[in-house]
């Protein structure tokens, strides 16, 4: 027996919304513009969505047991709610509309995480870029090929705040780290845990991201020392770089990194000052090295 839900007193309506599952709330939001606004204005928090690109499809993940598969036919979406697959249809809704709807009801403008898995075809990344407005983290899985990894960063890096790469795409002769370090990104993170990630002085000198983090970095102390000396002389300009964070594969000796360099100790950090007034805060511990660039 139907009831006129929207005619309920506001407080009751809100309480009913509070009692609903997130999946049911999303279904309600798709009934009409009015119900969408009702869900948006409710006290319920719909978690920001993550998206995973797998083969030629995009999965939207709200929770592990609540996932949607975007289909590019008949304006529909497949839903996995733990008990089989359902198909929801919304005439006129394209993949962009679906994503915009999910972002809108979770009151956010960004996909939390866009995951690229190894089965994603490179040409499909163009469709992914058209469909997804912005994401906080672009997460490139550890089992992606070098080609897919580099293509994903080149095509999708500009829509992400953080580009996180879980594999080493340069462990071959086909690609060089400069392909990614020279990109104008906000935050680039190489998150390789199982293998050493080789770096040289020339690599650090070409960094064009604002933030760079490298796990398992293998770089000689003398290269880090040379990097600091070049910076002190002002021979090399970094236009965007603000922060470098390295987690070395083997322990670092701070006396070698800071050899023949003048500095002041401020709050357990070494402050290097240049004639032009620019400063660099250096933290060197056996397990990590941090360079913080500051402009007075």
């Amino acid at each position: 027996m139907p009831i006129r839900f929207l005619s309920l007193p506001v407080a009751d309506l809100q309480y009913a919304l509070e009692c609903m599952d997130i999946g049911d709330l999303i279904a309600l939001s798709l009934c009409s513009k009015r119900t969408k606004n009702l869900v948006k204005s409710s006290n319920r928090n719909i978690e920001p969505i993550s998206a995973e690109v797998y083969k030629n499809t995009i999965h939207l993940i709200i929770k592990p047991n609540l996932q949607f598969l975007l289909r590019d036919d008949y304006f529909s979406i497949a839903l996995y709610r733990g008990d089989g697959i359902e198909i929801w249809r919304k005439p006129g809704f394209t993949q962009c509309h679906w994503i915009a709807h999910f972002l809108s009801i979770s009151r956010t403008s960004m996909i939390q995480k866009l995951i690229i898995s190894n089965a994603s075809p490179i040409p499909y990344l163009d469709i992914v870029k058209k469909t997804n407005p912005r994401c906080f983290t672009l997460d490139i899985s550890d089992n992606c090929s070098s080609e897919l990894t580099i293509a994903a960063v080149l095509k999708l890096g500009s829509i992400a705040r953080l580009v996180k790469i879980d594999n080493d795409p340069f462990n071959n002769k086909r690609h060089h780290i400069s392909e990614l370090l020279t990109l104008n990104l906000h935050y680039l993170c190489f998150n390789i845990m199982q293998n050493p990630f080789k770096l040289e002085l020339s690599d650090l000198l070409m960094v064009n991201s604002e933030h760079l983090t490298i796990e398992s970095a293998v770089i000689p102390e003398k290269d880090l020392n040379r990097f600091l000396k070049l910076w002190m002389k002002g021979n090399h300009s970094f236009y965007r770089l603000k922060y470098i964070e390295l987690f070395p594969w083997e322990q670092i000796k701070h006396e070698d990194v800071l050899k023949e360099i003048e500095y002041q100790v401020v709050d357990h950090k070494r402050r290097l000052s240049r004639a032009d007034g620019k400063e660099l805060l250096v933290t060197v511990e056996p397990d990590f090295v941090v360079f913080e660039f500051s402009i007075p």
Partner: protein
């Protein structure tokens, strides 16, 4: 006018019955009040049961009725259907003097009456019953698709909403024009 005593109808407000609840029960006699809905059937309810309703409890506190006055002046709830009021009274009697558990299987389950029940319970300010009813409303659409929810909760489509909005604007415009014409007529 007819009345019911804890769910039993009779021709006139019934005399209060003293329930043999406990042999060692205290001597203070329980006071009773009378309510009726749209169907004018009078229900006799104890003050203890009526404690659940913030609205009626407030009315009782303010009026300070004697037993006779209460019998002669049943609280009228003309906006509540008789069967809905009966459900509410039954629930209040069942939960007299005790809090409602989060999942109460004794509560009314008539889904076809749920909407009216929510409105009545909201009006009578019976918080625990309202909470349960809202949960029941939410459960109606558990696991349903948008199309099914639209049907169950009678949600208009965007086109229907737009048409209703246009119609409302048109009506408001006509009313405004009518008022202006009337004001002009008065001025003459």
């Amino acid at each position: 006018m007819s009345s019911t005593e804890q769910g039993t109808s009779s021709a006139a407000p019934a005399e209060p019955t003293t329930a043999p609840e406990s042999a060692a029960a205290p001597e203070v006699p329980e006071s009773f009040y009378y309510v009726h809905g749209k169907d004018k059937v009078v229900h006799k309810v104890s003050a203890g049961a009526l404690q659940h309703s913030a609205l009626i409890h407030g009315m009782i506190s303010n009026l300070g009725y004697t037993e006779e006055q209460a019998k002669a002046n049943p609280f009228p709830f003309e906006n509540i259907d008789g069967d809905i009021l009966q459900m509410v009274v039954d629930w209040c009697n069942q939960h007299k003097g005790k809090p409602t558990p989060p999942e109460d299987t004794n509560l009314p389950k008539q889904k076809e009456k749920l909407f009216d029940l929510v409105l009545a319970v909201n009006y009578l300010e019976i918080k625990e019953l309202l909470t349960y009813c809202c949960k029941q409303v939410a459960m109606m659409v558990k696991g349903k698709s948008p199309e099914e929810i639209r049907e169950i909760w009678m949600i208009p489509t965007d086109a229907e909403d737009e048409a209703a909005e246009k119609e409302a604007k048109k009506r408001a415009g006509k009313e405004a024009a009518g008022e202006t014409a009337a004001a002009a007529g008065d001025a003459k």
